[in-house]
Symmetry: C2
Subunit: 498 residues, 2 copies
């Protein structure tokens, strides 16, 4: 009923759709003979005497489509980077590398591209060069593959959360709170860039009035998600987050996308573990589901091949990921205390000595995930002094005094991929922790956090949650070395293109 009521699609098929195998039941001899039109960019052109070949891409797949010019002459301005519209017939390809090819009988150059000055040349371009040409870099195969992979990962994540009846909620970007109570934040104002220095004071006063309170760019949606979780018990978001950190590493961006989820904690039972191990089981399930879904999408295989092209460490990494998501063995879980013991007993020389009560350094995380486990590893129950105020205090009775019910998931090649915790739902414990962290005003007033405490006051219940850097997921699954190549337009200290 619904299908017949809907109008027919108003756009012609993409190259990817044209190359799909047609199910025999839908195949009529008429279809096979029907002329097709393809619009796209020229990725390569090989001119020969009797026949010429071009690869044309509209970005809908990794490989594009091979176009064969037999009787049709190739226009002079059909060069690498030009935009063309081709008509012709799809035909079984005698060559290796593609099932079908387009036998061209009509060609129109929609937009020429000077081959002398075109920055995206055929040879492999360095990441740095592509960052400098970020407006064109999606024409490089690896960046286009990354963009398609982000799309696919997002759909797989959605299917996981839909299955578990989570609602996707849009949390605000502008906020008056700083969830981590630590990271440097970006502050916003309404001053214009042309404002002379002399006008700054005036503008400053104007800006104070815009929202009636200072506004920052969010560093995490967690506290907001918690508010919603106290009404709709399973919530998640995939949303931009910001850190004004000046570090330029392969794992940090000033603007990044973060997946965050919160839900009501469940009582421990045989099938449903509660507490921090319950979160770990859920996160492991999510990543297995998502990465399997990705690996089993036909179109993603080609994209993963593009991403691993020319990188010798890739096949090893891909095997490792395959094992992580298909192996029947549950992923390793160890306490922070055990992790410190393993590190101290490793015989390895670290730049920073592993000491109980100090943060795990990148070198420690790498050793645990890459050398010791050779796959994903959950580290749980970190010392209270290392973690934010909202994580639930473990009790002495559980043998975990001085720790909080939290975890970091470490994966080879990336380090920390996911972090989460049981949230402190006990109002008086939370107030004590906030006081220790200096978040409450000297007078003892609850100030800006009153609303957060209200959530406990009015029917607060045990709940848990986690956050995952989306670019780090792309980095892990795609084997992409630097998160700057895991987001379409990267922003980091010193760089703001477009």
């Amino acid at each position: 009923m619904r299908a017949t009521l809907l109008r027919r699609s108003v756009l012609p098929p993409t190259i990817r759709q044209l190359l799909l195998p047609i199910p025999p039941s839908q195949l009529s001899s008429q279809d096979a003979e029907k002329p097709v039109t393809v619009t796209g960019f020229v990725k390569s052109i090989r001119r020969q005497k009797r026949v010429s070949f071009a690869v044309v891409s509209d970005g809908s797949n990794a490989k594009g489509m091979q176009a064969v010019f037999l009787d049709t002459p190739v226009p002079k301005d059909l060069t690498n980077g030009a935009s063309v519209r081709l008509t012709g017939k799809l035909s079984k390809s005698p060559g290796a590398g593609q099932e079908k090819e387009l036998i061209v009988n009509g060609v129109e150059v929609l937009g020429a591209c000077d081959p002398e000055t075109y920055p995206i040349q055929k040879q492999t371009l360095s990441n740095e060069f592509l960052r400098d040409n970020v407006h064109l870099r999606a024409r490089a195969g690896s960046i286009a593959a990354m963009i398609r992979m982000r799309h696919a990962l997002q759909r797989e994540l959605e299917s996981w959360f839909d299955k578990h009846d989570f609602y996707h909620v849009n949390t605000p970007i502008l906020t008056s709170n700083d969830a981590e109570g630590a990271g440097e934040t970006f502050k916003i104002s309404t001053t214009t860039e042309e404002a002379p220095i002399s006008a700054l004071e005036e503008n400053h006063q104007k800006e104070e009035h815009f929202f009636s309170t200072p506004a920052h760019l969010t560093v995490s949606a967690q506290l907001h998600l918690e508010a919603f979780q106290h009404a709709i018990s399973r919530m998640w978001t995939l949303s931009p987050a910001f850190r004004a950190e000046r570090s330029d590493t392969s794992r940090h961006l000033a603007e990044f996308w973060m997946l965050e989820a919160e839900w009501g904690d469940v009582s421990p039972s045989a099938s449903t573990p509660g507490g921090v191990r319950g979160i770990c089981a859920f996160v492991e399930g999510m990543l297995r589901h998502t990465v399997r879904g990705l690996l089993e999408r036909d179109r993603t295989k080609e994209d993963l091949d593009v991403l691993s092209d020319g990188n010798s460490r890739q096949s090893e990494r891909r095997e490792q990921i395959h094992k992580a998501v298909y192996s029947p063995e549950p992923w390793t879980v160890m306490t922070y205390t055990e992790a410190i013991e393993h590190l101290r007993g490793s015989g390895q020389t670290f730049e920073f000595e592993p000491v109980w009560g100090k943060s795990l350094q990148s070198e420690h995380e790498k050793w645990l995930a890459e050398k010791m486990v050779g796959g994903p590893v959950f580290v749980v129950d970190y010392p209270v002094g290392l973690k934010p105020f909202y994580m639930r205090l473990n009790s002495a009775a559980e043998g975990q005094e001085g720790t909080v019910a939290c975890f970091d998931l470490l994966v080879p090649g990336v380090g920390e991929l996911v972090g989460g915790s049981v949230r402190e739902e006990r109002e008086e414990v939370l107030i004590k922790r906030m006081r220790e962290c200096g978040l409450l005003e000297d007078t003892g007033e609850l100030g800006a956090y009153q609303w957060y405490l209200d959530l406990r006051k009015y029917g607060g219940a045990p709940h848990v949650g986690f956050g995952m850097g989306f670019e780090r997921l792309v980095s892990w699954v795609g084997g992409v070395e630097n998160v700057k190549e895991c987001v379409p337009v990267p922003r980091w200290a010193g760089r703001m293109m477009l």
Copy 2:
């Protein structure tokens, strides 16, 4: 294969899932007898001598679940707003209003809620009161319904774009450009809120260094989408956008979500119109698909009922929407010139006289959509002076001199819901327009827009696109009067809660 490999879901079913009719094939007598556990908030409690009734909600559906206390005593602190865990058996309900109810045999109050001070009382609360209690407002039925509706709309939009082979791309929030060249933007800095006025100059210099260029919050993803469209020919995004406008209207927010799409223009033919009418056909298809999908979701029906509760104009509006998305008649398309003629000939007295060359005012848009058409209406080909530089100039040959190939979609109750255009792909025309709009530097240098012109230079081809305010879609479909009730945490001039 995949299903058997995956671990079983690690979370117990939600109330919505528990209330789903079980297909007879999956129903065993064992299941019916299995005890179930429900965790949620008390929405209402009715204590009687022999039997008591509570409605418990976990936010997974609109109605929650009726819990019946027969032999089990109701604890004193099981009050409105408290968080509870109930165990019992699902049973066919003899009462009206629900198919099944929970016969309680175990009860645990997880978090009490003082009924004296709890802000979310049972009587209908004003929008203004709920905005002041935004951290708790999702516990009000109408706000929770809106959040679930946003989720459903997002899924339906995704299915439309997936069907047409668009890729979902995450465009940056921080940018150095201002797409509209008009609206006031928020500027970001790394200064801390405590910075004394005397430190402003120093901070200003520091901030200049963070990204090496001034950074704004994006007002539109369009220019960035165009860059990607020149590699992957069908792109869309649903992303936050920002306007530092001080107007406080029912249609504007300082932070809102915008759906934007760009794709390669197609040649006009019988089935696939090109140009601005092609975009209109695509947008009409998208909205019919999305709204139908929403109306046909069982769970959304209840949410729409909640949203229209107590609003007498709702049934009329719902009929109008039903007609718009199911009627076989295509939506009305008229030129701006025709719209002005209709308005001038309407006999209506307007505050602003409708004059060719001047913007359509809100009162004009309302009259066109509500009085004249009684449904959605596309107004196309506006005068060039009213629209941004990137819209394609119509030619004299088309009888549309002095206009651009653009459209606004006006809908009853909301006004402008969608706006889009053919993009100017001709480099020399674009440069001329940018010069007229004062976007190029006095020296004639292309400056910050060089990258945008590069897109034309290197294989530029005809392309089109549009943007739709997501909150306005929620407002239209849900019949919600003010966009402040169409987003979980609204931000507007003077207001910044949480």
